[in-house]
Symmetry: C2
């Protein structure tokens, strides 16, 4: 599997990955004993990245340049064979589809480094990289045709799945005979390839660095603190140069009873210190929230089974943290007995729309009863649910929205509209089945005489119908502007309808 790295004298695209390979000592324990890093310089800037040992006496240093032109590097090591190596990297403009890493923009939203908005439409498949090669290929194929631009996935395997994976992150013997001082490069080379394949598909890999589903079976959920820290630095050294990587400290961190809040703070700090690119950092909870106000958290990654059923719920956390809010887990589409896996496709899609008009983002997954015990949520494979097609439609609507992001309009009024005041309005009626919507917009940004066009969006049947004519507004009362002729918009009396109202120049 190709790790997606450029090396030697091959020019590297901006936000692509350069890899320097060095021959070094293979005696002793290189994972513990060899320090290796490099400084990449361009003009007055220096970017320092950590290297890592890949086995067989081979050492790698990976680098993601964020500007075109010539960069030089110098290595630093406590081993002469690896120290003081210098060279040059030529960086060329990014190829089409490469917009750089995703970061936070406009407080509550995301954008790629080149300014392109990133409209997060996420999914989760925890252990897809730990399945059979055939199943992993199928997962990639599914993703290629699916609407998702972010995938939550765990580095460590998942004991809840039963079945033993063929590769493990440490050398030794499953289930508990690990040498925690020696990573298994084969495991990570495999993961390199998967992350590179997601990158090629335009999918962000939200790498879950710890999770509680080991339950002591392999013990990756209860390693000593120094092993945790070494693991985190190794992961950052290997994956930091992939522009599509996000760091999720944990899934359901609060279910990992062996770790304290201080452990999580430290994990964030280790990752933050090791990562020169500032990839997005979050931590996902079950019941107890992490304090997302802490400075190393870039966005909230939440679990909540009901917040995105209602826009006035979903909006609340934004004000607490003043950071993007991603409801990564909102229950799943499926048909299992557990009530977290029983959403209809309609309800799954509704949550994305509610999230959007609340100025937040949502995550999908699905879990259907399967004779082979394969679910998208746990292992990947194919998607059986009815939501992905509607989420593709949803993502297209999002992508046509203002690049600043959808901001809730007129909060506290049970007014299901978001957009950009005076310019763009997206309203969503959810489960309600109105036959009529009296044209009325909240006053911020509006003035008498402004004109608008209106489209009726059926979010379930995936249609957009533009209304003939335009609407001109006049003020009504303290808070609203209405159509000057008091016109209403006829609606079909079905659920899941939305309106898009755009101001005419």
């Amino acid at each position: 599997m190709d790790a997606g790295m450029a090396g030697g004298n091959t020019p590297v695209e901006r936000w692509g990955s350069f890899e320097l390979q060095l021959k070094g000592p293979d005696s002793g324990n290189p994972f513990l004993e060899v320090d290796l890093s490099a400084e990449f310089r361009q003009g007055g800037r220096t970017v320092r990245v950590g290297g890592f040992y890949d086995g067989d006496g081979l050492y790698h240093i990976r680098f993601m340049p964020d500007s075109v032109g010539s960069w030089t590097y110098t290595t630093r090591s406590n081993r002469p064979a690896l120290d003081g190596k210098t060279g040059q990297v030529t960086v060329v403009p990014p190829r089409s589809g490469n917009h750089g890493p995703v970061g936070v923009r406009h407080t509550f939203h995301f954008a790629y480094a080149d300014g392109t908005p990133f409209w997060q439409v996420g999914t989760t498949s925890y252990a897809w990289t730990h399945q059979s090669e055939a199943l992993q290929r199928q997962t990639l194929q599914t993703l290629a045709g699916a609407p998702f631009n972010k995938l939550r996935m765990a580095v460590f395997p998942n004991h809840d799945d039963r079945g033993e994976p063929s590769l493990f992150p440490f050398q030794g013997k499953a289930p508990l005979g690990w040498d925690f001082t020696r990573f298994d490069p084969a495991f990570f080379r495999h993961l390199d390839g998967r992350v590179a394949q997601l990158r090629a598909l335009g999918i962000e890999a939200d790498l879950i660095l710890f999770h509680p589903y080991d339950k002591g079976h392999w013990g990756f959920d209860r390693m000593p603190p120094e092993v945790d820290a070494r693991y985190l630095r190794y992961v950052v050294a290997r994956y930091g140069a992939y522009r599509n990587v996000w760091w999720s400290m944990a899934n359901e961190f609060d279910l990992m009873r062996e770790k304290s809040m201080a452990d999580w703070d430290r994990a964030f700090q280790v990752v933050q210190a090791a990562d020169p690119y500032g990839h997005l950092r979050s931590i996902h909870h079950s019941l107890r929230l992490y304090d997302n106000n802490k400075p190393w958290v870039t966005h909230a990654s939440l679990q909540n089974g009901s917040a995105v059923e209602d826009a006035e719920r979903a909006v609340l956390y934004r004000d607490v943290w003043n950071k993007p809010v991603v409801f990564d887990e909102v229950k799943y589409e499926g048909d299992i007995e557990r009530r977290w896996g029983q959403l209809s496709a309609e309800e799954m899609v509704l949550r994305f729309w509610i999230g959007a008009i609340s100025g937040t983002y949502v995550g999908h997954s699905e879990i259907f009863d399967d004779p082979q015990g394969v679910s998208w949520l746990a292992k990947g494979g194919t998607l059986r649910g009815g939501s992905p097609a509607r989420l593709a439609f949803f993502r297209r609507i999002l992508s046509d929205s203002p690049p600043e992001g959808l901001e809730p309009i007129d909060k506290w009024q049970d007014y299901p509209w978001a957009g950009k005041p005076g310019a763009y309005y997206l309203g969503y009626f959810g489960r309600a089945t109105p036959r009529n919507w009296p044209f009325a917009l909240a006053k911020p940004g509006l003035a008498e005489g402004m004109r608008f066009r209106v489209e009726i969006i059926d979010t379930w049947n995936m249609t957009v119908a533009q209304l003939d004519g335009t609407f001109e507004i006049k003020k009504q009362g303290l808070y609203s502007f209405v159509d000057k002729d008091a016109r209403s918009i006829a609606l079909p009396g079905r659920p899941y309808m939305a309106l898009r109202i755009v101001r005419l120049a």
Copy 2:
């Protein structure tokens, strides 16, 4: 007006107020130049309290003892006349109705120091102490017959009210000719009396220390930082010995553009350092939340116009801060044109019930159009709304609930029940008008064969009807226990109904 202080050799009740009066210098500027404090000792304990200058060469030191028996004191001052004074205070058990100061209990709830639960039913009258003597007396009379056990009130006058008060916190000339180095003791003696009167009524005084409604008219909203700090220490020295005082750093702090977040952090720290009793500390916002995770915040004091319309909204902030949540401002009962003052009595009461079953607390106020421009919210006087009577009923129901507080049960399921699993359930149907409720409780704490009695509560008409017979439960599915004979409870098809279900021994 009596300041409610015991002095000399009069025994002081536990959590009562002792005041030591000393004669000292009246030359120069005693507010600035004289340091005064005292250490009160009992056994191995020392409580250090600040003193304050009350004008005319008189200095006071106030102390709220928290245990009975004999205490001794020694004063400390940079003036010989005030330094090294010693004496003794005899503390006797509290009189009936004195339960001590209110603190946080069971993470999300409140209790008095003697362990009695404090079920917060708050109201707000910002500037009642700045009105005519007749109006203030009327306000106190109203409060004596009202259900409220907490009153939010501002120390500084409110320019939005128009009308100039007769007393100001600083010496000098209104509106802007203040000597910010000299407090006016007459202003504070007046406030002493009001706080003491509230204490006698069993009402907590949530003292709002800053607010934005001055708008530069008197400039109390934009004093220099050292004046703010001196003011805060003076207030803590005067009022800390009243057990019914809470510190609210500000109302709508984020509307005070002259102050930064760092200013608020410092204000909290000044108050915390000066107050040896640890009175409750919060800060109330308009749109931008303060980070209530900060250690000096004891509870969240929120404004939100819609969160307590729905239990799944109201519950969300609890998990963020793991502190009590008080929705102090949820829009008001009234009939004014502004939509924040248009709640029907039914809607005002609904918010208290939703708050309660979400494990949070709510605040009331009202604003009706009035030819004299008097509203309860702004100035006090009488209450005209329909909610207070229902809130008295509500408070009685609360007071009969488990002393640990009402905890939401089975969150994320749109399941409007709170209580104590396995023992006590309070359910509220809000605006819904069910005719029937199939007996079903969420499984935590339950086992087959448990028996319950049921009461139907009409929260609006203020009736409690106990059903004949009992309900015995059996398990149904993964999550519920139901009546073993699958019985339902008939309901009247009206809104605002509640059920109370209590387990039989």
